[in-house]
Protein backbone atom coordinates (compact mmCIF):
# COMPACT_ATOMS: atom_id res chain seq x y z
CA UNK A 1 0.00 0.00 0.00
CA UNK A 2 1.32 3.41 -0.92
CA UNK A 3 2.52 5.54 1.95
CA UNK A 4 0.58 8.65 2.79
CA UNK A 5 2.22 11.99 3.52
CA UNK A 6 1.63 11.32 7.19
CA UNK A 7 3.48 8.01 6.89
CA UNK A 8 6.36 9.77 5.15
CA UNK A 9 6.49 12.36 7.90
CA UNK A 10 6.47 9.69 10.57
CA UNK A 11 9.32 7.88 8.86
CA UNK A 12 11.28 11.09 8.56
CA UNK A 13 10.74 11.88 12.22
CA UNK A 14 12.23 8.50 13.05
CA UNK A 15 15.33 9.47 11.10
CA UNK A 16 15.50 12.77 12.99
CA UNK A 17 15.17 10.92 16.29
CA UNK A 18 18.08 8.66 15.37
CA UNK A 19 20.11 11.70 14.38
CA UNK A 20 19.44 13.38 17.71
CA UNK A 21 20.45 10.21 19.49
CA UNK A 22 23.64 9.97 17.45
CA UNK A 23 24.68 13.60 17.93
CA UNK A 24 28.42 14.05 18.28
CA UNK A 25 29.82 14.83 21.70
CA UNK A 26 32.85 17.09 22.02
CA UNK A 27 36.09 15.27 22.63
CA UNK A 28 38.13 15.97 25.73
CA UNK A 29 40.71 17.57 23.47
CA UNK A 30 38.19 20.00 22.00
CA UNK A 31 36.87 20.93 25.44
CA UNK A 32 40.42 21.50 26.62
CA UNK A 33 41.14 23.75 23.64
CA UNK A 34 37.95 25.75 24.18
CA UNK A 35 38.67 26.14 27.87
CA UNK A 36 42.26 27.17 27.14
CA UNK A 37 40.93 29.86 24.80
CA UNK A 38 38.50 30.97 27.49
CA UNK A 39 41.18 31.25 30.12
CA UNK A 40 43.56 33.05 27.78
CA UNK A 41 40.83 35.48 26.75
CA UNK A 42 39.81 36.02 30.35
CA UNK A 43 43.43 36.77 31.28
CA UNK A 44 43.75 39.12 28.32
CA UNK A 45 40.57 40.94 29.23
CA UNK A 46 41.68 41.21 32.84
CA UNK A 47 45.07 42.54 31.79
CA UNK A 48 43.57 45.08 29.43
CA UNK A 49 40.64 46.08 31.57
CA UNK A 50 37.98 44.22 29.61
CA UNK A 51 36.72 42.56 32.77
CA UNK A 52 36.64 45.87 34.55
CA UNK A 53 34.79 47.36 31.58
CA UNK A 54 32.20 44.59 31.85
CA UNK A 55 31.68 45.31 35.52
CA UNK A 56 31.47 49.03 34.95
CA UNK A 57 29.59 48.85 31.66
CA UNK A 58 26.65 50.82 32.89
CA UNK A 59 28.92 53.71 33.80
CA UNK A 60 31.42 53.66 30.94
CA UNK A 61 29.96 52.31 27.76
CA UNK A 62 33.22 52.48 25.85
CA UNK A 63 33.61 49.13 24.15
CA UNK A 64 33.92 47.85 20.58
CA UNK A 65 32.92 51.16 19.11
CA UNK A 66 35.68 52.95 20.97
CA UNK A 67 37.67 53.73 17.84
CA UNK A 68 34.64 55.31 16.24
CA UNK A 69 34.21 57.18 19.49
CA UNK A 70 37.74 58.53 19.22
CA UNK A 71 37.17 59.55 15.62
CA UNK A 72 33.95 61.27 16.54
CA UNK A 73 35.58 63.07 19.42
CA UNK A 74 38.26 64.29 17.05
CA UNK A 75 35.66 65.53 14.59
CA UNK A 76 36.29 63.00 11.84
CA UNK A 77 39.52 62.06 10.13
CA UNK A 78 39.84 65.49 8.55
CA UNK A 79 39.85 67.04 11.96
CA UNK A 80 42.73 64.97 13.23
CA UNK A 81 45.83 67.07 13.43
CA UNK A 82 47.76 69.32 15.66
CA UNK A 83 48.63 69.28 19.27
CA UNK A 84 45.10 69.96 20.35
CA UNK A 85 43.92 66.73 18.75
CA UNK A 86 46.85 64.83 20.24
CA UNK A 87 45.95 66.25 23.58
CA UNK A 88 42.36 65.07 23.14
CA UNK A 89 43.65 61.65 22.17
CA UNK A 90 45.76 61.56 25.29
CA UNK A 91 42.78 62.60 27.36
CA UNK A 92 40.67 59.92 25.70
CA UNK A 93 43.33 57.28 26.34
CA UNK A 94 43.38 58.20 29.98
CA UNK A 95 39.63 58.20 30.17
CA UNK A 96 38.89 54.91 28.48
CA UNK A 97 41.75 52.81 29.77
CA UNK A 98 44.17 50.63 27.89
CA UNK A 99 41.74 47.73 27.53
CA UNK A 100 39.40 49.55 25.28
CA UNK A 101 42.27 50.47 23.02
CA UNK A 102 42.88 46.84 22.21
CA UNK A 103 39.22 46.42 21.38
CA UNK A 104 39.19 49.66 19.48
CA UNK A 105 42.08 48.55 17.33
CA UNK A 106 40.51 45.13 16.76
CA UNK A 107 37.34 46.91 15.72
CA UNK A 108 39.30 49.04 13.29
CA UNK A 109 40.78 45.93 11.70
CA UNK A 110 37.38 44.39 11.13
CA UNK A 111 36.38 43.19 14.54
CA UNK A 112 37.98 39.83 14.04
CA UNK A 113 40.05 40.17 17.14
CA UNK A 114 43.23 39.44 15.24
CA UNK A 115 45.12 41.91 17.35
CA UNK A 116 45.23 40.67 20.86
CA UNK A 117 48.32 42.44 22.09
CA UNK A 118 47.24 45.42 24.09
CA UNK A 119 50.81 46.72 24.05
CA UNK A 120 50.71 46.94 20.28
CA UNK A 121 47.41 48.74 20.40
CA UNK A 122 48.71 51.21 22.92
CA UNK A 123 51.89 51.79 20.92
CA UNK A 124 49.82 52.32 17.81
CA UNK A 125 47.91 55.20 19.33
CA UNK A 126 50.99 56.62 20.97
CA UNK A 127 52.63 56.62 17.54
CA UNK A 128 49.57 58.39 16.17
CA UNK A 129 49.92 61.00 18.86
CA UNK A 130 53.56 61.53 18.01
CA UNK A 131 52.80 61.91 14.31
CA UNK A 132 50.15 64.45 15.11
CA UNK A 133 52.61 66.40 17.20
CA UNK A 134 55.16 66.38 14.39
CA UNK A 135 52.59 67.58 11.87
CA UNK A 136 51.74 70.44 14.16
Amino acid sequence: MAMTERDHDKALQAFFAEARHASPEPSADLLARVLADAEAEQARQAATGGGRAAKDRAGTAVTGSAWRGLRDILGGWGGIGGLAAAGVAGLWIGFSGVGTLGMATADLWGGGGTIDDAGFATGDLLALTMVLEEEA
Binding site: A19, S23, E25, D37, E41
Partner: protein, 194 residues
Protein backbone atom coordinates in the same frame (compact mmCIF):
# COMPACT_ATOMS: atom_id res chain seq x y z
CA UNK B 1 31.77 36.72 44.59
CA UNK B 2 32.64 33.27 43.24
CA UNK B 3 29.95 30.61 43.48
CA UNK B 4 30.26 26.87 43.92
CA UNK B 5 30.40 24.99 40.63
CA UNK B 6 27.11 23.23 41.28
CA UNK B 7 25.38 26.54 41.85
CA UNK B 8 26.84 27.91 38.62
CA UNK B 9 25.19 25.12 36.68
CA UNK B 10 21.85 26.54 37.75
CA UNK B 11 22.54 29.95 36.21
CA UNK B 12 21.39 31.05 32.78
CA UNK B 13 23.84 31.38 29.90
CA UNK B 14 23.58 35.14 30.16
CA UNK B 15 24.34 35.19 33.87
CA UNK B 16 27.32 32.93 33.30
CA UNK B 17 28.58 35.11 30.49
CA UNK B 18 28.46 38.15 32.76
CA UNK B 19 30.42 36.24 35.37
CA UNK B 20 32.91 35.17 32.72
CA UNK B 21 33.37 38.77 31.68
CA UNK B 22 33.89 39.71 35.31
CA UNK B 23 36.76 37.24 35.46
CA UNK B 24 35.18 34.21 37.13
CA UNK B 25 37.09 31.15 35.92
CA UNK B 26 34.43 28.63 36.93
CA UNK B 27 31.91 30.38 34.66
CA UNK B 28 34.19 29.62 31.71
CA UNK B 29 34.18 25.95 32.61
CA UNK B 30 30.41 25.72 32.89
CA UNK B 31 29.84 27.61 29.65
CA UNK B 32 32.41 25.45 27.86
CA UNK B 33 30.66 22.27 28.93
CA UNK B 34 27.22 23.66 28.20
CA UNK B 35 27.71 25.39 24.87
CA UNK B 36 30.55 23.63 23.05
CA UNK B 37 28.28 20.63 22.31
CA UNK B 38 25.70 22.99 20.80
CA UNK B 39 28.18 24.54 18.39
CA UNK B 40 29.72 21.16 17.57
CA UNK B 41 26.38 19.50 16.79
CA UNK B 42 25.33 22.17 14.34
CA UNK B 43 28.75 22.36 12.73
CA UNK B 44 28.92 18.59 12.30
CA UNK B 45 25.44 18.48 10.73
CA UNK B 46 26.28 21.32 8.40
CA UNK B 47 29.82 20.35 7.42
CA UNK B 48 29.81 16.54 7.77
CA UNK B 49 33.48 16.69 8.70
CA UNK B 50 34.54 16.05 12.27
CA UNK B 51 37.79 17.99 12.18
CA UNK B 52 36.22 21.00 10.49
CA UNK B 53 33.28 20.89 12.88
CA UNK B 54 35.65 20.96 15.84
CA UNK B 55 37.49 23.93 14.38
CA UNK B 56 34.22 25.78 13.85
CA UNK B 57 33.00 24.98 17.36
CA UNK B 58 36.26 26.25 18.85
CA UNK B 59 36.13 29.40 16.75
CA UNK B 60 32.49 30.07 17.66
CA UNK B 61 33.30 29.68 21.35
CA UNK B 62 36.34 31.95 21.01
CA UNK B 63 34.09 34.62 19.54
CA UNK B 64 31.77 34.13 22.49
CA UNK B 65 34.62 34.74 24.92
CA UNK B 66 35.71 37.84 23.04
CA UNK B 67 32.21 39.20 22.86
CA UNK B 68 31.45 38.60 26.55
CA UNK B 69 32.40 42.07 27.86
CA UNK B 70 30.15 43.68 25.23
CA UNK B 71 27.11 41.43 25.74
CA UNK B 72 23.95 43.49 25.93
CA UNK B 73 21.67 41.97 28.51
CA UNK B 74 18.17 41.11 27.32
CA UNK B 75 18.79 41.79 23.63
CA UNK B 76 19.10 38.16 22.55
CA UNK B 77 19.63 34.71 23.97
CA UNK B 78 23.24 33.60 24.19
CA UNK B 79 22.37 30.27 22.56
CA UNK B 80 20.70 32.08 19.66
CA UNK B 81 23.83 34.19 19.22
CA UNK B 82 25.98 31.05 19.25
CA UNK B 83 23.77 29.27 16.72
CA UNK B 84 24.00 32.29 14.45
CA UNK B 85 27.80 32.57 14.69
CA UNK B 86 28.21 28.84 14.18
CA UNK B 87 25.88 28.88 11.18
CA UNK B 88 27.76 31.78 9.64
CA UNK B 89 31.11 30.10 10.17
CA UNK B 90 29.73 26.96 8.50
CA UNK B 91 28.41 29.02 5.62
CA UNK B 92 31.86 30.51 5.10
CA UNK B 93 33.40 27.07 4.94
CA UNK B 94 30.71 25.63 2.69
CA UNK B 95 31.20 28.44 0.22
CA UNK B 96 34.72 27.18 -0.24
CA UNK B 97 33.50 23.77 -1.20
CA UNK B 98 31.78 22.61 -4.29
CA UNK B 99 28.31 21.23 -3.79
CA UNK B 100 27.98 17.53 -3.08
CA UNK B 101 25.65 15.43 -5.16
CA UNK B 102 23.29 13.27 -3.09
CA UNK B 103 23.86 10.23 -5.28
CA UNK B 104 27.59 10.53 -4.83
CA UNK B 105 27.18 11.01 -1.09
CA UNK B 106 25.04 7.90 -0.93
CA UNK B 107 27.58 5.89 -2.88
CA UNK B 108 30.30 6.92 -0.52
CA UNK B 109 28.29 5.57 2.37
CA UNK B 110 27.37 2.38 0.50
CA UNK B 111 30.95 1.73 -0.52
CA UNK B 112 32.35 1.83 2.96
CA UNK B 113 33.33 -1.76 3.75
CA UNK B 114 32.57 -1.28 7.43
CA UNK B 115 29.03 -0.07 6.78
CA UNK B 116 27.56 -3.57 6.65
CA UNK B 117 28.80 -4.27 10.13
CA UNK B 118 27.39 -1.14 11.68
CA UNK B 119 24.19 -1.06 13.65
CA UNK B 120 21.07 -0.21 11.69
CA UNK B 121 20.47 2.77 13.89
CA UNK B 122 23.85 4.18 13.03
CA UNK B 123 23.08 3.60 9.35
CA UNK B 124 19.87 5.55 9.68
CA UNK B 125 21.74 8.46 11.18
CA UNK B 126 24.38 8.20 8.48
CA UNK B 127 21.74 8.02 5.76
CA UNK B 128 20.06 11.13 7.08
CA UNK B 129 23.40 12.87 7.35
CA UNK B 130 24.18 12.01 3.72
CA UNK B 131 20.76 13.22 2.62
CA UNK B 132 21.18 16.44 4.61
CA UNK B 133 24.42 17.17 2.80
CA UNK B 134 22.58 17.18 -0.52
CA UNK B 135 20.11 19.84 0.59
CA UNK B 136 20.69 23.46 -0.36
CA UNK B 137 22.57 25.09 2.48
CA UNK B 138 19.72 27.22 3.82
CA UNK B 139 17.29 24.29 3.81
CA UNK B 140 19.87 22.21 5.64
CA UNK B 141 20.36 24.92 8.26
CA UNK B 142 16.62 25.28 8.80
CA UNK B 143 15.98 21.53 8.98
CA UNK B 144 18.86 20.92 11.38
CA UNK B 145 17.83 23.75 13.68
CA UNK B 146 14.15 22.81 13.59
CA UNK B 147 14.13 19.03 13.61
CA UNK B 148 17.42 18.05 15.22
CA UNK B 149 18.12 20.98 17.54
CA UNK B 150 14.41 21.41 18.24
CA UNK B 151 14.34 25.22 18.00
CA UNK B 152 11.20 27.22 17.35
CA UNK B 153 10.56 28.82 13.97
CA UNK B 154 10.87 32.39 15.35
CA UNK B 155 14.23 31.56 16.92
CA UNK B 156 15.43 30.00 13.67
CA UNK B 157 14.27 33.15 11.90
CA UNK B 158 16.45 35.20 14.26
CA UNK B 159 19.43 32.96 13.64
CA UNK B 160 19.12 32.95 9.87
CA UNK B 161 17.95 36.53 9.59
CA UNK B 162 14.67 35.66 7.85
CA UNK B 163 10.96 35.67 8.67
CA UNK B 164 8.96 32.82 10.13
CA UNK B 165 7.22 32.20 6.79
CA UNK B 166 10.55 31.77 5.10
CA UNK B 167 11.65 29.35 7.83
CA UNK B 168 8.51 27.28 7.33
CA UNK B 169 9.07 27.25 3.59
CA UNK B 170 12.69 26.15 3.98
CA UNK B 171 11.88 23.36 6.41
CA UNK B 172 8.95 22.13 4.32
CA UNK B 173 11.02 21.99 1.15
CA UNK B 174 13.89 20.41 3.06
CA UNK B 175 11.67 17.70 4.49
CA UNK B 176 10.19 16.92 1.09
CA UNK B 177 13.66 16.53 -0.38
CA UNK B 178 14.77 14.36 2.53
CA UNK B 179 11.68 12.16 2.23
CA UNK B 180 12.41 11.65 -1.44
CA UNK B 181 16.09 11.00 -0.87
CA UNK B 182 15.48 8.50 1.90
CA UNK B 183 12.48 6.76 0.34
CA UNK B 184 14.60 4.16 -1.38
CA UNK B 185 16.54 3.39 1.74
CA UNK B 186 13.76 3.01 4.29
CA UNK B 187 13.35 -0.71 3.84
CA UNK B 188 17.04 -1.54 3.91
CA UNK B 189 17.35 0.59 7.03
CA UNK B 190 14.58 -1.19 8.84
CA UNK B 191 11.72 1.19 8.09
CA UNK B 192 9.49 -1.02 5.96
CA UNK B 193 6.03 0.03 4.78
CA UNK B 194 4.55 -1.08 8.07
Amino acid sequence: MAMALDALHELSDEELLARFAAGEAAAARVLTLRLTPVALRVAQRMLNDAAEAEDVAQEAMLRLWRMAPDWQSGVARVSTWLYRVTSNLCTDRLRRRRSVDLEAAGEVEDDRPAAVNELIAADRAAALQAALQALPERQRQAVVLRHIEGLSNPEIGDILGIGVDAVESLTARGKRALTQALAGRREELGYGDD
